[in-house]
């Protein structure tokens, strides 16, 4: 279980998070929605300790994330970054197998490579892709390699930052199914950021909307359509007018 309590984060004068409270139960799939630039990526990075909150607490299974032993803490997580963040000096398979090749339970190269190729297949990429370099792939393919890397070590908690942005509708469907599968089959806890409402409906158990630095609305995905919340309604129907200003 992940608990965020009154989390604040500012970059200079830019107050991005202004008291975020959110609980993600174990084994559930939480989707975070919200306008671009509202701090969704910063929120995920705060949980991982890549960004240090100015105030507030983040608890993982009741333990303060800031005080955890880093190596063991991070070993429980997988993260797909918004820009994929592949290592351009390494071939695709090595990117995917990166975590498998280090740490105490490191695997032999051949074995790690086989697992990488299997994970690539799960995100809809052919084995031939394994020996290419990230710069040789399209944006959507890079995103899927990033996804394969995030799930490579079968983590307990997985963060997906805009997993379907830049993918065609069919590939988006494949990725949505995959994320759902990971949560259902592996019992992982997932947090996904997305702007794609069909993804939200496909992936989410719970939905949280971040607006103005706080969680504006949180609830079950089936309650999303009749929430009566004007912010949420504007967002899910993509209306230009409403309480959320178009110029931010």
């Amino acid at each position: 279980m992940i608990e965020l309590r009154d989390v604040h984060k500012a970059f200079g004068a830019n107050k991005v998070l202004r008291g975020v409270n959110l609980t993600i139960p174990k084994g559930e799939s939480m989707v975070i929605i919200g306008g671009s630039g509202t701090g969704k990526s910063v929120l995920l990075k705060s949980i991982l300790g890549l960004v240090h909150p100015d105030q507030g607490k983040i608890l993982i299974d009741g333990h303060d994330a800031a005080k955890a032993e880093r190596e063991a803490f991070l070993a429980r997580f997988g993260m797909l970054f918004q820009g994929a963040a592949l290592f351009d000096s390494l071939p695709v398979w090595h990117n995917v197998a990166f975590r498998l090749l280090r740490g105490k339970s490191r695997l032999a190269r051949d074995e790690a490579r086989d697992i990488a190729i299997e994970k690539l297949r799960r995100v809809g990429l052919k084995p031939q892709v394994a020996d290419l370099f990230p710069a040789e792939l399209s944006g959507g393919m890079q995103k899927r390699v990033g996804l394969a890397r995030a799930i490579a070590a079968d983590p307990e908690i997985i963060f997906f930052d805009e997993p379907t942005t830049g993918l065609d509708p069919i590939m988006s469907g494949v990725i949505n199914d995959l994320i759902r599968e990971i949560v259902v089959e592996m019992g992982a806890t997932a947090m996904t950021i997305t702007h794609d409402m069909s993804s939200v409906r496909a992936i989410a158990d719970d939905v949280a909307m971040l607006h103005d630095g706080v969680i504006q609305w949180v609830g079950r995905v089936q309650d999303m359509d009749n929430s009566g919340d004007p912010y949420l309604n504007q967002f899910i129907h993509g209306r230009a007018d409403g309480p959320i200003e178009a110029v931010r």
């Binding site: 890549l50 880093r70 991070l74 070993a75 970054f81 918004q82 963040a85 290592f87 990166f98 280090r102």
Partner: protein, 259 residues
Amino acid sequence: MLLTPVATIGRSTLAMLSGIGRIGLFFLATLAAMLRPPFYLREFGHALLTIGYNSLPVVGLTALFTGGALALQIFAGGSRFNAEEVVPSIVAIGMARELGPVLGGLMVAARVASSIAAEIGTMKVTEQIDALVTLSTDPMKYLTVPRVLAATLSVPLLVAVGDSIGIFGGYIVGTGRLGFNPAAYLKNTTDFLEVWDVTSGLIKGAVFGFLVALVGCYFGMNSGRGAQGVGRATKSAVVTASVLILAANYLLTELFFTA
């Protein structure tokens, strides 16, 4: 109003001092990372190749032309005292003690500090550094340590090669242009060159190599956001590395001079 220039100087001095302080902290963090496993051999080997081996042409050419020019200048100066015969030994001593390491170091600063800063800076702005951390890999150990060690080891070797090529440049000019007898030129070179002339230059090379890689990594890791951030990091890395090399050169020379 009158004080504005003074305030500007004061501000930039303070900024420089705090910059040096931060690089100092980065230096300590690098040392700490060096002493704890894991050690990334593959990265180290790759860094040796890109920093050391690939710098050979630039350093070699620099030394060749410098050695040649040095022979002409010393001949011009020496002839005023009827002391033209000092050309071989002064070329050798000048290359080994001063010009080999300093010019080699500066060329490496231009070539290596910039590429390290740009590479690590790009990794930073494209979240690759964050990705490393989430994959339980310490960027200091994975990126900084291999580069710093490789530069510290390979720049002295580059300096040694540069020294030889520089002396050879002097030899070509001395024998081809200034009428020295080849055998006499070589004898004169070896007779007066002491071991310490060479080793002191190699020590300088190691310090310069260390500085270049450290500064490159520092500015890369602290790169601002976007392409502009990386551009600025690259520029700062080259300028800072060059100035630090010249400052360190003076301090080391002073130290070796009294020793």
